[in-house]
């Protein structure tokens, strides 16, 4: 075990990144972020290899004009901010405004429509809106001022749309939303909730004018907002073009004249289009080999990715109800195998939270005792639990996702080393998700997660209520659930961080039935002519609107 841990230390020291700038952030589907190249990591010190341009160009004076060209491998289904959870949201983020945007890197709420916000108590958030903040000068709103009524209409729409996802904050936590006057809006929550401002400043909490919804029917393919860009052209699943809103309230922004995005569904073609200089920002998901093959005259960067793979066990059935068996499994799986085989040598140890959530995640020292391999101890634990010769484990997963299979295959070969005969049971993806994983209908399962920028979801998965519909693992550890609730209700950031770490320790001490394999590295790249782009902001970068094209 210690040998393995030494390996982790070496890996983390040699990785050409700094992770201390990352603290997590608002939820957005990771694939969407990846498309904007935000899986990458900037560097704030001299660890990066010599000669490579630094991301961001933050120290350069912004220049007006130019067109940003991006691409995505994701099929853009629509651009309604209250319905989309993936790439379509990145368009919505340019068209619409928000009360504010939460910067998870620096843990601050950055006002946009709001001029300021006041927290009268842990339960009350009062936003004073900017006067003269207008919708785009297009029908049907024709430059009408944005008022508190628009905010109420929008957030209620997000809460009530049957197609909306990730709106549990508005349904379960928010008690009241009130228009105090045209420029004052108040939100009252039922209980103190640590991520209130993250939710209120989340990318789905966009302010949309009711006239647009009434005229267009829905906002999936058309829309008018009060954001910094106007949607000039949108062809579903093919291309879109946004142009600068000349009447945007924050008149210095945006710098770009236009922002264009095309869809190239084939990942290697998309990467090639970037390499051929047809795009300014890489939108393809890269592995280490792709990254190593990038042109050297680009701004190439790495950072811990936020997605990861897990083994889920049904804690209500034998043998997984026995913590000794779960501990044996934790110790039997050599995480280095995942790093080497899936990450090509890049990756980080992982407890309940990914290494990308450095502000919240346990340190590598904390994780060391829980990370294998220690085959002898694993065998001893299995013997003590009554399984000296191991047992047969049916592992449900889907053949429809290669990453599931890749993780599962490595895990199967690892468990075989201690006598656990794991066998994969493959299902079609739709069947697997709706009838097995989300229904908690399995003995053991392997799957991968979307990236999470805050601890809410990754920790919530260990709660006895799961993410709201019950624990997929049928795991009911009162102490763990209580600690997860405590951190969710803790409004003080530092104190919350302590509670999040305590919750993780409790989870690990009980060898909770969701074991995360490793935290992979993310890779990003953009052309040096792109300035004002800092991938270290992750999802928040989408609403900084600071990108510019350098006149070279």
């Amino acid at each position: 075990m210690s040998q393995s841990y030494g390996y982790w230390l070496r890996k983390s020291r040699t990785a050409a990144i700094s992770r201390r700038r990352f603290v997590g952030g608002a939820a957005i589907a990771g694939a969407g972020m990846a498309t904007l190249g935000i899986v990458g990591c900037g560097d704030d010190d001299d660890e990066q290899s010599g000669g490579t341009p630094t991301p961001g160009g933050e120290d350069e004076a912004p220049q007006r004009g130019g067109t940003l060209r991006t691409g995505t491998f994701l099929d853009v289904l629509g651009i309604d901010p209250h319905i989309e959870v993936s790439i379509g949201l990145t368009t919505a983020a340019q068209m619409y405004t928000y009360l504010g945007a939460f910067n998870t890197r620096d843990n601050e709420f950055v006002p946009l429509l709001a001029d300021s916000h006041e927290q009268a108590s842990d339960l009350e958030f009062v936003f004073t809106l900017n006067k003269g903040f207008k919708h785009q000068n297009l029908p049907p709103v024709n430059g009408r001022e944005v008022t508190a009524d628009d905010v109420l209409y929008s957030l209620e729409r997000f809460r009530d749309l049957p197609e909306a996802q990730n709106n549990s904050f508005y349904k379960a936590i928010v008690d009241k939303m009130q228009v105090i006057d045209d420029h004052t809006f108040k939100v009252t929550t039922k209980l103190p909730y640590a991520e209130s401002l993250i939710e209120l400043g989340g990318i789905q909490s966009a302010i949309v004018p009711h006239e647009a919804v009434e005229q267009f029917g829905n906002l999936s393919s058309r829309g008018v907002g009060a954001g910094p860009y106007i949607l000039e052209n949108y062809v579903k699943g093919e291309r879109e073009r946004l142009i600068r809103n000349p009447d945007y309230f924050h008149s210095d922004l945006p710098y770009l004249d236009a922002s264009e995005r095309i869809t190239i569904l084939d990942m290697s073609t998309l990467l090639q289009a970037y390499k051929n200089d047809q795009l300014d920002l890489n939108g393809a998901l890269m592995n280490k080999l792709d990254y190593d093959g990038l042109p050297s005259n680009r701004v190439n960067y790495t950072l811990p990715a936020l997605h990861y793979g897990s083994l889920g066990l049904n804690a209500s059935v034998k043998p997984y109800s026995d913590p000794r068996v779960r501990q044996a499994i934790y110790l039997a799986v050599d995480r280095k195998q995942f790093v080497d085989k899936l990450g090509f040598g890049d990756g980080f140890p992982m407890g309940p939270l990914s290494a990308g959530l450095e502000y919240w995640a346990l340190s590598e020292d904390d994780l060391a005792p829980y990370i294998g391999p220690d085959y002898n101890k694993a065998k001893e634990l299995l013997s003590a639990a009554g399984y000296p010769n191991g047992f047969t484990m049916d592992v449900e997963t889907s053949g429809g996702v290669q990453l599931y299979i890749d993780h599962a295959n490595i895990m199967v070969s690892e468990l075989n080393k201690v006598g656990i005969k794991a066998e994969l049971k493959l299902s079609e993806l739709g069947d697997y998700l709706s009838n097995k994983l989300f229904a908690g209908n399995f003995n053991a399962t392997v799957f991968t997660h979307n990236p999470y920028e805050t601890p809410k979801i990754p920790l919530g998965m260990y709660h006895k209520m799961g993410l709201g519909g019950g624990s997929w693992w049928h795991y009911e550890n009162e102490a763990v659930s209580k600690k997860i609730d405590e951190q969710a209700n803790e409004m003080d950031g530092e104190r919350r961080r302590d509670l999040v770490k305590e919750a993780q320790r409790l989870i690990l001490d009980d060898y909770a039935p969701m074991m995360n394999f490793y935290s992979p590295m993310g890779y990003g790249s953009h052309h040096p002519r792109l300035g004002g782009y800092d991938p270290t902001y992750r999802g928040f970068q989408l609403r900084r609107y600071t990108e510019f094209i350098k006149n070279t």
Binding site: Q165, K236, G237, L265, G430, D431
Partner: protein, 315 residues
């Protein structure tokens, strides 16, 4: 003949009813809940129930099926559970993409496959015959997705050339750019189909060339060109046309992958996504259109037999 065609057209109605009903019922038997898939991991049962209510997913099979037909007669194929649009609108946007690709692929298949197969049969044992056979075996063996990936990546790596990406340009708007987008994916789709046609055309020509009437034609002093064009081709064409008709369905299967590689937002790609997401209205809409298209092609193929071979009479 007129009666035959009329009867076949009438038969299309129960066939389409049967196909759409079978697909509708089977999709509902397949495990997987559209509401769960659409709303993701954080949804509660209450959320899912609201979603089901909105999209009529709680309706019984007969009710859902009849309601769908009621919509079809009014030109409304229903609301997609996933695509955020009406199925009719979505199909209107996407069908032209797939159809253009398929038409061009059939064109390439016929233009390359038929002459190559016939000439290989006529000049059996020649160098040309061996070359054609070698190419056809290659065409059958090489998967179209591999060929497509190479065809798009190699020019990009070597010469920095990528075909126009980022959306279809309609043929009527800019024919040159449209063909620039479509010729390569269609040609790749046609490789396997051409190879099949070559082999059938060749063996059919060989078969016909051993017939008595061909021997008689040569015996009465007709030149090879006349024998081949007038007597051999028409008789050899029936299995070839049958195969081409059948291959349209096969080409649609290949189109799913090719649409992905070339980012052509056609029906094939959406069909796969709809099946995964259990988007019943979309699946039914696509099946309705495809079944109509394939059945019509089948009918045209059957009718064409009578024109190619006057001995065939339909009654």
């Amino acid at each position: 003949m007129r009666h035959y065609v009329l009867r076949r057209l009438l038969l299309l109605v129960p066939t389409i009813l049967l196909i759409t009903f079978a697909v509708t019922s089977l999709m509902r038997v397949v495990p997987g809940d559209p509401a769960t898939l659409a709303l993701g991991q954080q949804a509660t049962e209450e959320d899912r129930e609201r979603f089901r209510e909105k999209y009529g997913l709680n309706d019984s099979l007969p009710v859902a099926y009849l309601r769908w037909w009621q919509g079809v007669f009014q030109g409304d194929l229903g609301e997609s559970v996933v695509q955020r649009t009406n199925v009719t609108t979505e199909l209107k946007n996407r069908l032209p993409v797939t159809l253009e690709m398929l038409v061009l692929a059939v064109f390439f298949t016929v233009v390359f496959g038929v002459p190559a197969g016939i000439l290989a049969g006529v000049f059996r044992g020649s160098l040309f015959d061996y070359a054609v056979r070698f190419i056809s075996v290659g065409g059958l063996s090489i998967p179209s997705f591999w060929l497509g990936t190479l065809a798009i990546l190699l020019p990009a790596i070597w010469w920095g050339y990528l075909p126009p990406l980022g959306g279809r340009v309609p043929l009527t708007e800019d024919p040159v750019r449209n063909l620039e987008q479509f010729w390569l994916p269609s040609a790749i789709l046609a490789v396997g189909a051409s190879a099949g046609v070559i082999r059938i055309a060749r063996s059919s020509v060989l078969d016909v060339s051993r017939s008595d009437y061909i021997r008689t034609a040569y015996a009465k002093g007709l030149g090879q060109r006349v024998v081949v064009v007038r007597h051999m081709l028409r008789n050899a064409m029936i299995p070839v046309i049958t195969l081409i008709g059948l291959q349209v369905a096969g080409l649609f299967g290949g189109a799913v992958i090719i649409e992905q590689i070339f980012t052509l937002q056609g029906v094939g790609l959406m069909f796969i996504g709809s099946i995964f997401n259990r988007d019943y209205p979309m699946i039914q809409g696509i099946v309705l259109f495809l079944a109509t298209i394939f059945l019509t092609i089948n009918l045209l193929v059957d009718v064409s037999y009578a024109y190619i071979d006057p001995r065939i009479r339909y009654s």
